[in-house]
Amino acid sequence: MFEILKETRIPFSRLRYIGFIASGVLIVLTVILLLVNGGPNYGIDFEGGSKIGLSFSEPITTEELRSVLADIGETNVKIFRIQDVSTGASSFQVQVSPKTALVEEDKSFSRMLIEELQVRNPGIEVTLTGEETVSAAFGKELQWDAILALLLGLALILIYIWIRIDFRFGVGTVVAVFHDVWITLGIITLAGIRIDITVIAALLTIIGYSVNDSIVISKRIQELIKTRRGATLTENIDAGINTTLSRTIVTSITTLFVSVAVVIFASGTAIFPFAITMTIGIIIGTYSSSFIVAPIVVELERVLPSHKRRT
């Protein structure tokens, strides 16, 4: 029998303060980061604007591209350089504000940019690999839809938790969900990832995944409480986390295998933000299901003791 962990006896309940402190610090750091940054970085799905993908037959620098953009009167741009891991070729993504991206104009912005690039670099062939434009008003609407989807998804999952596990575990799981989403948001903001629809999809999936972990652990603890009448709640909680620990880790490892594979091989594609968000979320979710959910149950039990149990 190959095991990553032999039977562990980690006293999670006693270690709960370490988890609380670590998470507390991360949460506060995220608050500060978001305040300093003026909120998360929104992609064009939400802010409106245009995203243009360009590839060149010969390498050019970001500075060159920026100066061409400045020449056609566009200084407020964001340029991302994308390196394809498998072929080594690099391409660019240029993001401009919705004002520039007016699509009704005779000559679209991308056409203007390509013509100018061609004039400046006669030998280099410029290809438009993709273009995405969203009007500012439509972006607002997408933003509302996304927020609505997140809230609705959350509400439905909460209802499910409420039906399936008891109140104290429910509270712990819900706290863990908000904890996971918040810290993931902080990390992707720090990494400069722009939030688009796929990132929202990743966040919702992370919620599902995080709850999934919490449910498995909570159910095991409830089972132990039923069968081991003599043990205290903290003993049962520790035993529950420890006996499910190898499952928690194995599942996280296999899921991380694929999400990291997507991060590496799809780095040049539109799902990169999705994959990186997913990867971060899985790590945070795995941590929180062991270090946040059960300790919160212990705390709740101390504050609001249920009748029959001893802590």
Binding site: S86, G153, A201, N212, T254, I271
Partner: protein, 511 residues
């Protein structure tokens, strides 16, 4: 025991056969190289459907600008519907293989043009205001002459034996028409032989219509000169026929009033061409070609009669004549263009990521659970196989996020087997016999498996409902993948264990 195993085996084989049948067109498309156009099209209709982000193409969301027009909700919806049918005609002219145009919400439409590479032209065709013209049709004799000239030009034979051009034509009432499967080839011939047609005329098509069970488009030779245009029209409305012809009783017609500017010209044209036909041409599409019955004197209304007894056709024609162009201005609120190259790169990247991820998971599971790991891997492979089969069977659209969804399914699907195996290990540790350990393991784990999968499925369902774009592809693969997983991980793998322990309940488990 034995009987339940047999039932499982039969069900498994049945599912396997169904899966193969559903995936066969996709595999054949991938492998076969000697397919002709028609076979390819038939197969593509049944194969796994790839999204725009993978095949390349354009995705547009257009919004009907109804602000400040005092439209009621219903008028807004009908104006949008009219705009959609006009856009549909225009897209047909672009020659896109499988366009998808549908209304989204009250005043928006989504236009998807797979494989469109010329973005500027597509935008121009879709975004233009539209042009309505009334143009005379060439006489039947002149039309026949032009068709046979083209035949002669194409075959290099002036005697009129070969019919490479007019051979495509079938009669449709008093007009000639081309059947839908031949349309593209025929249109290409028309474009190649422009020089043969006299300079003052051109060959135009009617919209697609059903005639005697066939889908056809009429072919007309139309004069280039516009007698009157949409700007000369004051009003047009559809109404029930009011004349004395008993044949036209209870049919619909369009009554049309002209602006002062066009009245004299229209009177002349109709007066000089009684018996001829006047084509109503919109965006180079011949919408209708009524016969001129009499001179329409200045100031009186012109009527266009029809055999339409329902009224829809004439109402559409009236709207078209009245507005000439789109009933409402359209604004592009979202545009996404992906070049076919980027699409191909995305497929490659996605498939590599899935394969590498899969290989890592398979390796890990086999090392971690040895023999039982192989069972989990078999369950995983069949999960993937059925996932693709179901996606192909339901004609779901596979997008780039959908590929990520498949990858994620691989990672998460193993969870069910991990839950079961950890339980079995627990039972074995307590000293149970392999067979009873397996039984208890599965019995205890499956509830948790359902609980655990349902939360992710709930999240995915919300995503599928709230999104129409590529993200829906992700949500759908996740829902289908995890649902199938509950079957393969629990029933399929259990069957393999039962087979293994069938004769000797204490046979050593490699887990």
């Amino acid at each position: 025991m034995k009987r339940s195993l047999w039932i499982k085996l039969v069900l498994f084989i049945l599912a396997l056969v169904i899966g193969v049948v559903l995936l066969y067109p996709t595999l054949r498309l991938l492998v076969a190289t000697d397919l002709d156009e028609e076979e390819r099209m038939v197969l593509e209709k049944k194969a796994l459907h790839l999204g725009l982000d993978l095949v390349g193409g354009m995705h547009l969301v257009l919004e009907a600008d109804t602000s400040g027009r005092g439209f009621t909700t219903q008028e807004m919806a009908s104006a949008t519907d009219n705009a959609i049918s006009i856009i549909r005609d225009r897209v047909d002219e672009l020659g896109v293989a499988e366009p998808n145009i549908q209304r989204v919400g009250r005043n928006r439409m989504q236009v998807q043009l797979p494989g469109v590479a010329d973005r500027e032209r597509a935008l121009e065709v879709i975004g233009k205001t539209g042009l309505l013209e009334f143009r005379l049709l060439a006489s039947p004799e002149a039309t026949m002459k032009i068709f046979s000239d083209i035949d002669a030009h194409l075959s290099g034979d002036s005697l009129g034996g070969a019919r490479p051009f007019s051979g495509y034509l079938v009669p449709a009432g008093s007009d000639a028409a081309v059947e839908k499967p031949n349309y593209r080839a025929f249109k290409k011939l028309v474009e190649e032989t422009r020089s043969v047609v006299p300079a003052d005329a051109e060959i135009l098509f009617g919209p697609e219509e059903e005639a005697e069970g066939r889908s056809i488009r009429k072919v007309y030779v139309v004069k280039k000169k516009a007698e009157i245009t949409g700007a000369d029209i004051k009003d047009a409305k559809a109404m029930l026929y009011q004349g004395n012809d008993p044949n036209l009783d209870r049919t619909w017609m369009v009554s049309m009033d002209l602006q002062r500017s066009g009245q004299a010209r229209f009177a002349n044209v109709t007066g000089n061409n009684v018996g001829e036909r006047l084509a109503i041409v919109f965006d180079d599409l011949v919408k209708s070609a009524p016969v001129i019955k009499e001179r329409i004197p200045p100031g009186s209304a012109a009527t266009i009669t029809s055999t339409d007894r329902v009224g829809n056709e004439m109402r559409d024609l009236a709207i078209l004549i009245r507005h000439g162009a789109l009933p409402v201005p359209l604004r592009i609120v979202q545009e996404r263009t992906v070049s076919p190259t980027l699409g191909r790169d995305s497929i490659r990247a996605g498939v590599i990521a899935i394969l590498i991820g899969l290989a890592a998971v398979v390796l890990f599971i086999i090392i971690y659970y040895t023999g039982s790991g192989l069972v989990a891997v078999a369950a995983l492979i069949f999960n993937l196989f059925w996932l693709l089969a179901v996606l192909a069977g339901f004609r779901a659209t596979l997008t780039l996020p959908g590929l990520a969804g498949i990858a994620l399914t691989i990672g998460m699907a193993v969870d069910a087997n991990v839950l079961i195996y950890e339980r079995i290990r627990d039972e074995l540790r307590v000293g149970k016999f392999p067979r009873s350990a397996v039984e208890t393991g599965y019995d205890k784990a499956w509830r948790i498996i359902i609980d655990a999968n349902i939360t992710t499925i709930i999240a995915a369902v919300v995503l599928a409902v709230f999104n129409s774009g590529p993200v829906r592809g992700f949500a759908i693969t996740l829902i289908v993948g995890l649902s199938i997983n509950m079957i393969t991980a629990v029933y399929f793998s259990r069957g393999l264990f039962d087979l293994y322990l069938f004769r000797r309940p204490d046979r050593k488990l490699y887990i």
